[in-house]
Symmetry: C2
Subunit: 327 residues, 2 copies
């Protein structure tokens, strides 16, 4: 038991973000009904969660209404249809949206915070997109938002580049830098190393380290609590673990683990029972064998997604052979 996480108490500064609509939207082109988004919102409020990510602020050119639901763009009127005038103080919940470098018309899509129900813009980028990400952080900050950054796919980035990226992000107004295991490839010791590296880079800045894990190897929850134990103060999770491919850390597991009495499990169970079971009949997520394999191989899950959506989703041997040949 480390000093950082005494077993029988809790860290008040640890905050939980629900990414059900945002990451889950990668499974269904963000076609969630208003009722569903409202149910998630109500659940987040009742469960005492700190942030709800209601979708992406990504480009209507790349993600047109004809193919993608409103939660891929998060126009103000769409969000307000569900959350009304949303009061972050009364609810205890801040709303966030993610903007992807290279996929967002952020200069026009991210408008002044005073006119938005959003409190936080989470900028996501790959390592080659850092300059744009820095501009996006700066822009969001100037518009009055809290800005954070998710550097994605770090399991395939060399440490020297991660260190350089951290040096750059530390100089921005970003309040949180998130360790993102996009491929669900990281094991515990690697999570330790990365969280330690991020924390060291941010020492004395007042910035926080976050964790966003994927469940390809059934390690999303384990890696999330590991990051928390090591000092990460921002944790992402989703209802029933919904998210692209193998999904994310399950909120019901994370809240069952955390000891802060402000978090309530019961409303989350209600949502699982009333909404998530129905959704599971329509769309698939979770750590099936093809995702296990891409996680083990530290690869993007796109090939596994293709197989799971195809006509022979359980031909594990054929998928394995193809993946091995492709090395």
């Amino acid at each position: 038991m480390t000093d950082k996480a005494p077993w029988v108490t809790y860290r008040p500064e640890l905050k939980v973000l629900d990414c059900t609509i945002r990451d889950g939207g990668l499974v269904n082109n963000s076609h969630f009904s208003d009722d569903f988004v409202r149910a998630v919102y109500d659940t987040c409020v009742q469960a005492g969660l700190d942030y709800m990510e209601i979708g992406y602020k990504n480009s209507p050119r790349l993600f047109p209404e004809s193919e993608y639901g409103p939660w891929r763009r998060c126009d103000e009127e769409d969000m307000r249809r569900v959350v009304g005038d949303h009061d972050p103080v009364a609810t205890g919940l801040k709303l966030t949206a993610m903007a992807d470098a290279g996929k967002s018309d952020w200069k026009t899509q991210i408008t002044p915070a005073k006119d938005s129900v959003l409190d936080v813009i989470r900028v996501a980028c790959y390592v080659h997109q850092i300059p744009e990400a820095v501009d996006m952080i700066q822009h969001a900050h100037e518009q009055g938002y809290e800005a954070t950054v998710n550097l994605m796919a770090i399991s395939i980035v060399q440490e020297v580049e991660i260190l350089q990226a951290l040096e750059v992000f530390v100089e921005t107004p970003a309040t949180t830098i998130v360790v993102v295991d996009s491929f669900g490839a990281l094991y515990r010791e690697q999570v330790d190393n990365l969280v330690g590296t991020y924390l060291a880079a941010m020492e004395g800045t007042g910035k926080h380290v976050g964790i966003h894990a994927h469940n390809n190897q059934q390690l999303a929850f384990a890696n999330t609590i590991e990051a928390i134990i090591q000092g990460a103060n921002r944790a992402d999770a989703s209802m029933a673990g919904i998210g692209r491919g193998a999904g994310n850390c399950a909120m019901e597991l994370l809240i069952g683990f955390l000891r802060n009495p402000k978090f309530k499990l019961r409303p989350i169970l209600r949502l699982l029972q009333d909404e998530m079971l129905k959704l599971r009949e329509e769309i698939e997520w979770g750590p099936s064998v093809p995702y296990n394999l891409t996680g083990q191989l530290n690869r993007h899950p796109r090939e596994a997604i293709k197989v799971r959506e195809g006509s022979d989703p359980d031909n594990y041997v054929a998928f394995y052979d193809q993946q091995v040949r492709d090395i």
Copy 2:
């Protein structure tokens, strides 16, 4: 990265045990067909696994043929029908059976090893059954078997009792003492503590520490590799994670993690595809919400099993309320 598990190499002394038929038999009263058991056996051989646990050596009085399949008793003729004369040297695979203290007629059921296809008897007991377990270990040893011991449900045993149990077991001929998380309740730091405690108690004896994890909180694989990293040299897993309630560590994840080239993933994937998917249509296992909850509460999964087998398996809120009331 610790010295104990350098990332890019492997520990030759680390051995893997498949408990598909034994622990999986708790889901279906050990009613596996001979063909299925043979498929698992062939897979274990092809995958280079070290041990296959083919069932329980438990009492025919308590587990009669009218209700329980042969793998609850493992009579010699039943095993031989599937594995013939089984050659552990030629196959590289040793066969094991588990005998439960309090449930086994071990004096008559465990007969000389020279006449059996079994190489290993794994004795399982709760903390109040240690004296009988010691006698069972001694008996199995005298009959010519390697004997090991699984002290169950240690997440509800006080450390002082665990230490006393270890002192006792160290004096027996048991070659391995297994850390058993029967309720799927342990978190990583607890696994570290327990494996460290077990290793310290066995220092200099040549005995090994094992790990047997349950997946109630999706932590079976994480806790298994954690125990390995800390120095456990015996790891239990099962095909597709089959096992009582939430199941065990999935073999396909464990073998994907281990770096010893003698282990082969492909035959395991073949079994998952050809056999385990069919089985999933007949019986249920895996970490659904009721198992999450009993794991979080550090309780025996029996209430969760009852709910999952009942008429309202997805009434998570009612189950939660009942569990909370019962505290």
